[in-house]
């Protein structure tokens, strides 16, 4: 209850500051529209925004699911095999050295203007945090457990599956929490580079037509969706750990 009140208080304060800035500096609506105008547009354009939001949500969820699965599998392969580790690790670092932003036009060229170039962007942007968080956790299994397993006569593959993977799941979960915040960035960049649907596309379109209130409305929806995604993943990870 107090937490809800605190959040409400923060939101209210932000809205007040926003309105104060608009009023004090007498900003025109095509530079910074006030909150009442933005929320008015959010309500009147709700069908339009919902339609585009749905597209972005689909891209984000697909990218998140595929990226998490790929990151999970890569980290396990790297943890299991020193050869795979020496081959994949430099590639993983290199994939971070290339800015994902720079890849967006190429991905659009290869995968088209539709859904999959954005899914690929979201996937690429979360692959590294998920893989490295899970891999690091897999390599940090408490020594006592590994020694116990050795004395017990365990097979390495079974040690990996029955001890190292479950022990590393909190690391995987922290990777996923980061991914929940990063994945929408990937999808939006993809939409900016080339799309005909999605919240990123809608924002560009509104900006081009000086409909700054619509742009802000889309931005607010995007932020709220990202927060919800993060909260959902956080709750899911907690439940997974407790059960």
């Amino acid at each position: 209850m107090t937490r809800t009140l605190r959040i409400l208080g923060t939101v209210l304060l932000a809205l007040l500051v926003w309105q104060a800035v608009v009023t004090v500096f007498a900003l025109p609506r095509f530079i910074l529209p006030g909150p009442h105008l933005v929320f008015g547009t959010l309500w009147t354009s709700r069908a339009l925004i919902a339609e585009h939001a749905w597209v972005t949500v689909t891209e984000v969820l697909l990218g998140l699911g595929l990226g998490a699965a790929l990151g999970f599998a890569s980290a396990i392969v790297m943890a299991a095999s020193p050869v795979a580790r020496s081959l994949l690790r430099p590639m993983l670092v290199f994939s971070q050295a290339v800015p994902v932003f720079a890849l967006a036009p190429i991905l659009t060229l290869w995968l088209g203007y539709g859904l999959w170039s954005k899914v690929a962007m979201a996937l690429l942007i979360i692959y590294f945090p998920v893989t490295s968080a899970f891999f690091d956790a897999l390599m940090r299994t408490p020594t006592g457990w590994l020694e116990l397993a050795r004395v017990i006569g365990a097979r390495p593959a079974r040690i990996l599956w029955h001890i190292r993977v479950p022990a590393a799941l909190p690391g995987f979960a922290s990777g996923l929490r980061l991914a929940a915040v990063y994945a929408p960035i990937g999808a939006i960049i993809g939409e900016w580079v080339g799309a005909s649907r999605g919240l990123g596309y809608l924002m560009l379109l509104a900006n081009g037509r000086a409909k700054i209130d619509l742009m802000f409305a889309a931005l607010i929806v995007l932020a709220v969706l990202t927060l919800l995604l993060h909260a959902a993943i956080d709750a899911a990870c907690r439940r997974m750990w407790e059960s």
Partner: protein, 241 residues
């Protein structure tokens, strides 16, 4: 369980050129409970690790083996100071961990029976976080018994428990591990005085054998001869260095 062998270890161990222990030699009698008592840092745990096949981090020049000539691997169970329970598994699943790690069928009925014998029948489906330190160590004892190995190596398994739980745990372990070759590393003279059918005192100077009072173990913690032996061991510990 196959016949319990005697254990022999002789030689010296170094880590990065610095001596860990030795040269020394010790024998652990077949089917008896031997306490290896000594202050911290004299290499007691290293001896245990060498016998359990975990000596990878020290250079050992010597022999650590069973007297029957067969390899020790697969005949040793290890119980450490930390219970090493998996927090995501309930008590029964922790007890059957060995079978799962080897890819064998887990015998849950036997595991439940063992949990009953360590007094945890009502807690079989609890996870470690819902158990007290003493209860967790009893689950670890049940896991050790589940392995049914003729040689059991104990590395200060009761030292983190409060005085009451420790005494109860000592009674329980002495009863349930009887007939196996047990090597119990401890720095607690009272524990060695209660449990050791043989007591080896390990200091930087080497290993000496101390003669415990006659009679079965565990000895009563308040019997005069137990207390006298405890005092004797404590004096030996105080006189080193």
């Amino acid at each position: 369980m196959s016949a319990a062998p005697a254990l022999r270890l002789s030689g010296r161990a170094t880590a990065g050129g610095a001596p860990v222990f030795g040269p020394l030699s010790l024998e652990v009698r077949a089917g008896e409970w031997t306490c290896l008592l000594g202050p911290s840092g004299v290499g007691k745990s290293t001896i245990l690790r060498l016998l359990s096949g975990l000596g990878g981090d020290v250079a050992f020049d010597g022999v650590a083996a069973a007297d029957d000539g067969a390899p020790l691997a697969g005949r040793v169970a290890l119980m450490a100071q930390s219970d090493l329970l998996m927090p995501w598994l309930d008590a029964v699943a922790n007890v059957t961990l060995g079978a799962r790690l080897r890819g064998e069928a887990g015998r849950r009925d036997r595991a439940t029976g063992l949990l009953g014998r360590v007094g945890l029948a009502a807690h079989a489906h609890k996870r470690p976080h819902a158990l007290s330190g003493g209860q967790r160590q009893r689950v670890a004892l049940a896991r050790t018994l589940m392995e049914d190995r003729p040689v059991v190596l104990l590395d200060e398994p009761f030292s983190a428990l409060d005085a009451r739980s420790r005494a109860l745990m000592q009674d329980l372990a002495a009863g349930l591990l009887g007939g196996r070759t047990v090597l119990h590393v401890t720095h607690d003279a009272a524990e060695a005085a209660r449990l050791g059918q043989n007591v080896l005192l390990m200091t930087r100077a080497g290993i000496t054998s101390e003669t415990p009072p006659a009679g079965p173990v565990p000895r009563p913690f308040d019997a005069p001869e137990t207390l006298a032996f405890q005092g004797h061991l404590q004096r030996q510990l105080m006189e080193v260095e």
